[in-house]
């Protein structure tokens, strides 16, 4: 008996437009959410979701249905977001600063002052991209390390290592600014 989901995946691989639209409808929210976690800007996340689905369309013949669509789409989305972060450094730093300014969550510890939050966000923005992405997804967004590893194309151990290095560098940066976390 033919499975409906695998039929759509196989049809997509062969370039079927209806299957492509069905997969877009099914996964656009997840892809958008994943990108939003990385770029932290809704308008940019929308733009990059479109770019991701364009790349997905372009790569349809290389898609392997047996490995599933979600993980594959997430890997492409991660690459798209990374490309964007590499090429729009100024914009990213601005958004980090904006995040720090607006990021005064009600549940936040009142002892952590706004200035420390701002400096932490800026210091975080100065970290090497690959460390920052791992820490963003694994620490800030609390995504499962296995998923983070798959999206970045690295092992779970490498994710842990990157997170550790990111936190260590962040702490060092803050200490140099006279902040002892």
């Amino acid at each position: 008996m033919r499975n409906g989901a695998s039929y759509v995946l196989n049809q997509f691989r062969q370039g079927d437009a209806d299957a492509y639209e069905a997969l877009f409808r099914q996964h656009q929210r997840a892809v958008y959410g994943w990108i939003l976690r990385i770029v932290r800007n809704p308008a940019t996340a929308e733009e990059l979701t479109v770019e991701t689905f364009w790349r997905i369309h372009r790569a349809h013949s290389r898609f392997e249905p047996e490995r599933g669509f979600e993980g594959w789409a997430r890997r492409i989305a991660t690459r798209v977001a990374l490309d964007w972060l590499r090429t729009s450094r100024a914009e990213r730093e601005l958004s980090m600063e904006a995040c720090a300014e607006v990021a005064a969550p009600v549940e936040a510890d009142p002892a952590v002052r706004a200035e420390i939050r701002r400096k932490t966000a800026l210091a975080f923005g100065r970290l090497p991209l690959k460390l920052r992405i791992a820490a963003t997804l694994a620490v800030i967004e609390e995504q499962p390390q296995k998923e983070v590893a798959a999206a970045l194309g690295i092992s779970v151990v490498a994710v842990k290592l990157r997170v550790f290095r990111a936190l260590r560098l962040l702490r060092k940066d803050l200490q140099e600014q006279g902040i002892t976390p």
């Binding site: 958008y32 479109v50 364009w54």
Partner: protein, 83 residues
């Protein structure tokens, strides 16, 4: 950096940059944008290969005709007849 400090750093980071509300989904339907993107790229791709192919073909044809006319001037009336 011990485990305690690591946990404190994680907490500080989450307070500085809280998680994004990624469950809401995009603010609009992105399908029309995807279709537009597909159209633009396919048009650009086909346009580029078309103009590139003709530029190359035109060049070779022009060189060929000039060479032919230089070697066989008697062919000029034939070309004039056909063009």
């Amino acid at each position: 950096m011990n485990e305690h400090v690591e946990e404190r750093m994680k907490k500080l980071l989450r307070q500085a940059l809280p998680p994004m509300n990624s469950d809401a989904g995009p603010g609009r339907d992105l399908w029309p944008d995807v279709l537009r993107r597909l159209d633009v790229n396919l048009a650009a791709k086909s346009g580029a290969s078309f103009s590139h192919g003709w530029a190359w073909f035109d060049g070779v044809l022009a060189v060929g005709i000039v060479a032919l006319v230089a070697i066989f001037p008697a062919a000029i009336p034939m070309f004039l007849y056909y063009f």
